[in-house]
């Protein structure tokens, strides 16, 4: 019996990996967010529902456009972002992934 168990163990350990396990496993997330004030808010309130590349792949946007995105996430996608976090979030996104408002 012990010998049988050993054989099963050997077969399991040495059987060629045909990729059966990998076929159902996704590669890890890798994108990280730039450091800056407000980063923790993004980590805590945006990234539970999507990966960071949803943020980092956007074109550079002005603060009003980031605010519109935040508002869409709150009103349409139930993002639990408290009202008093919105300004900090918009500041971070504009500073790290945005662009300044066009001049007058």
């Amino acid at each position: 019996m012990r010998r049988f168990v050993l054989w099963v163990w050997l077969i399991l350990m040495t059987a060629p990996d045909v990729g059966a396990a990998d076929e159902w496993k996704l590669p890890p997330e890798k994108t990280t967010l730039r450091p800056g004030p407000g980063r923790e808010v993004v980590l805590g309130q945006c990234l539970p529902c999507h990966s960071a590349d949803y943020v980092t792949s956007q074109p550079p946007m002005v603060r009003a456009a980031w605010l519109a995105s935040i508002e869409k996430m709150r009103s349409k996608y139930a993002a639990p972002i408290p009202t008093n976090s919105v300004a900090l979030l918009a500041d971070y996104l504009t500073a790290q992934y945005g662009k300044p408002d066009p001049g007058p």
Partner: protein, 389 residues
Amino acid sequence: MGGLISGRIQGKETYDLPFENGVRELVQYPQKRPLIRLTSRPPQLETPMAVFNEGVLTPNDAFFVRYHLAGSPPSKAMLEGDAFRVSLAGAVGKPLEMTVAELVRRFEVVEVTAVNQCSGNGRGLFLPRVSGGQMGNGAMGCARWKGVRLADVLKSAELSAGARQVSFDGLDRPPTPGVPDFVKVLEMDQALDPDVLLAVEMNGEPLPWLNGFPLRLVVPGHYGTYWIKHLHRITVLDSEYKGYWMDPAYRIPDDPCAHVAPGTKPRRTIPIGRFNVRSFITSHPEGGVVRAGEMVRVRGIAFDGGAGIREVTFSADGGRNWQGAELGRDPGRFGFREWTVDWQPGGKGERVLWAKATNRLGESQPLEPLWNPAGYMRNVVESVKVRVA
């Protein structure tokens, strides 16, 4: 407009999409070759343009991937064997529920060659830029889809007299209950169109996991938003469906060209529907080099929303002169139509190559891009700049 393998990020190859902030990693996913990764949770992968030069059928391992909700893709346990069942209920006399094996046993199995294209294909090229998935033009592909006709399944369930619409829900799930589930709707006349399939195979193989295994809706000529993956619930409705992914999402300006003045909002919108006419040069990447005086074979693809392609013309001088391309084998009115043209570049220097398709209704492509705030339905004549050396 091409895009090139351009460098490496942390040891991985990258692909440079031709717009600001367009550098992406090439990442290998299950059953896929390395593709352009837009996002990882949920996964969104784009096909490199050079793949479309391999043939008019896009290989399964290169076919683009687009999910909406972080509870995607569904796990193996939810999809394999008898665990997966599709149901048809609502305004019908005889509701159904069956496995995929039962579905293909019970109904006639048919095949259609059709393009699937993301509504936002080419969104990254919009100017002014718009927020959303920032893709180049690789969120499209053409495959042979095999499955059963939705119409046959609907009829076997005995539609009620008041049946108006049909809704489709897949097993991709929202990350939290407050996020709207991804449900799409077809009007009854669309749902009864014999070209609409419940597909189980793609290019002769079971659907890849990331393309909807084991069952997806195929709506030839229509944007991918309707092609629900991991389709498990079909509901016949006797009233008009109200839901986020039909309204306000995936809507276009109610205008024949689905556009508004750049930076403005449409006054009225309608759900996005059929593809407009598009064509691409696939044989030459942006920045490619050709020899002066030698005959060059330029190749590409064209498609539309189901009328079929009538003509493709080619220009190597910014539209001053056009020459007709030769069309390849007709794949049916929903597929990529290959075209080729022999071009002899004269003097050395840069040339801007254009291809422009016209369908059998006489609809074509604009020379200037049309804009809408969601970045949908791009179909401007695309250009590829090459150098004659």
